[in-house]
């Protein structure tokens, strides 16, 4: 496991007030190393700009018909 991953775990956990002891940092860093390896191909994907997140916030259902109102 890399020193940088252990440092990452140590710094980020401290930033969010998650107390981890040395052995937890070691084990969590090992998990993240394994995940990083697993998702390398995913990280290397080249997304086009229009490939947005799978679901996008919609403020309200698109109206079938706009209400016919006169001011």
């Amino acid at each position: 496991m890399t020193v940088s991953m252990k440092n990452y775990v140590s710094v980020v956990s401290e930033t969010i007030d998650l107390q981890l002891d040395a052995s937890q940092i070691e084990r969590v860093a090992m998990h993240l190393e394994r995940t990083k390896l697993m998702c390398k191909e995913l990280m290397d994907l080249d997304f086009s700009p229009e490939c947005e997140l799978v679901e996008i916030y919609v403020p309200a259902p698109y109206p079938v018909q706009l209400p016919n109102r006169t001011l």
């Binding site: 990452y8 956990s13 007030d17 191909e41 995913l42 490939c51 799978v54």
Partner: protein, 449 residues
């Protein structure tokens, strides 16, 4: 002499009391409620009111479903001090209305993060077909209780394979419907963007009847996309003529060992399926599902992790911690990938109606197994049991897990996934029915004392 539903439920209670000490599927037995519901079902029948196929049928729920008057544990001792649920989960309410009889709450991996139900707080659930082996998870109690003959059916949840893995390893039927099909209101979440609920059962008829009974829109659940009920029970008779059925190769073949290949061959033979099909981006989908699960699951429990990490399940706490610390880039890329992935999977189903592949890479492993070797790769056993289910649930497709008993399995089952396009549970259940009639897929009662 005429036997009442109450008589039958009393027999079932005796069976649970006799078998569960060995299997450890139940974390709570709701026998008083069951007796009341049985008397109500008897009264309904005596009054001549037409009843549903579930009237008087016993069931249990994974202990992440709210059951009125019972504390929802989600497999955790942290929640054990929480107040009892004030009402039933929506699906439990619907089963009550159908006349089904709640017999208890069932063991699971803590917060559903696991595929083995090796729960350190409540003990491991044991596989009824070999007690030294895992039942699969995270709905392990749901699978083992049906396999042991303690319950005809049960409710479970499936984020990455948690219905299909125990169904495969325990040799029972399971259905993980389309993502968004069923209301999740009144259940303890794990990963909002992938959580599904579903059923495990001892026959296709019961699987279908219980699945039909729990369907329906729920305007109060933002995750429920269903606008109507797509009834499946009467569609079995349509058979499989005309259905285009393929066998998944590539990733799904490469991550399967000999018993898994045997199970698929047995099923393919009955269905007349011979063409191999490639599922798009399965490796990427598994990675994306893993990252999504870890991030959402870790953040869901972050406050408890800060306060009492040492009270978590020792087998999964490090995964929760790691998930809470994952870089946001990983999560966002997984979400962008998921849009592309959905399109590719939906395109695949323009050419196919049903695709089949194994549900697990191997049959049930011994409790405590740490590593699995799959085709030259040494993998953590607890995570690897879901390697063949994860890519499918990430797409949200409906799947029926069919119980198969490969000759090479030394008496242990290994299930096959019957996968359909989103919202086509009916097709998967039609195929399941044909497989059941053929005798190749069936539930076998174990010899337990």
């Amino acid at each position: 002499m005429k036997h009442t539903i109450r008589d039958r439920i009393e027999q079932q209670i005796l069976t649970i009391e006799r078998l569960d000490p060995a299997v450890n599927a139940f974390t709570f037995r709701s026998f008083e409620r069951a007796r009341l519901e049985a008397d109500r079902a008897d009264a309904l029948i005596n009054s001549g009111v037409p009843n549903s196929p579930l009237c008087g049928v016993g069931y249990g729920v994974k202990n992440l479903f709210d059951v009125q008057g019972v504390t929802t544990l989600a497999g955790s001792k942290i929640l054990a001090q929480s107040p009892p649920a004030s009402s039933d989960a929506v699906l439990v309410e619907r089963l009550h209305l159908a006349g089904a009889i709640m017999l208890g709450c069932l063991n699971m991996d803590e917060f559903a993060y696991g595929f083995t139900t090796e729960n350190s707080h409540f003990g491991p659930t044991r596989n009824p077909h070999r007690l030294s082996c895992i039942a699969g998870g995270s709905s392990g109690g749901s699978g083992a209780s049906v396999a042991a003959g303690m319950l005809p059916f049960s409710l479970g949840s499936d984020t990455n394979g948690s219905i299909r893995v125990p169904a495969s390893l325990c040799g029972v039927w399971g259905i993980k419907p389309t993502f968004g099909r069923l209301s999740r209101r009144g259940t303890y979440p794990f990963v909002n963007s992938i959580d599904h609920l579903g059923v495990l059962a001892n026959s296709v008829e019961l699987l279908s009847a219980s699945y039909d009974a729990i369907q329906g829109p729920d305007p109060l659940d933002p995750g429920c996309a269903a606008e109507s009920i797509h009834e499946t029970f009467t569609s079995h008779k349509l058979g499989i003529e005309g259905l285009r059925i393929g066998i998944l190769g590539g990733y799904f073949s490469d991550h399967a060992l000999v018993d898994a290949h045997s199970s698929v061959e047995m099923v393919a033979k009955v269905l007349g399926a011979c063409q191999t099909v490639t599922w798009p981006d399965a490796t990427l989908a598994r990675a994306a599902a893993f990252v999504t699960t870890a991030s959402e699951g870790g953040i869901l429990h972050l406050e408890e992790l800060k306060r009492q990490a040492d009270e978590f399940e020792p087998l999964s706490v490090d995964r929760f911690l790691a998930g809470a610390l994952q870089p946001v880039e990983w999560y966002l890329k997984a979400q962008r990938f998921r849009r592309l992935y959905r399109q590719k999977v939906n395109d695949l189903f323009k050419d196919w109606d049903i695709l089949i592949c194994p549900a697990t890479p191997v049959p049930a492993i011994e409790i405590g197994t740490e590593w699995l070797e799959i085709n030259g790769h040494k993998l953590p056993a607890r995570a690897a049991m879901g390697i063949l289910t994860q890519p499918i649930s990430y797409a949200g497709c409906p799947v029926v897990a069919a119980p198969v008993w490969p000759d090479s399995g030394e008496g242990l089952p290994l299930g096959v996934q019957i996968i359909a396009a989103p919202w086509r549970e009916d097709l998967a259940l039609r195929v399941a029915h044909v497989l059941q009639v053929s005798g190749v897929c069936r539930v076998k009662l174990p010899v337990l004392n």
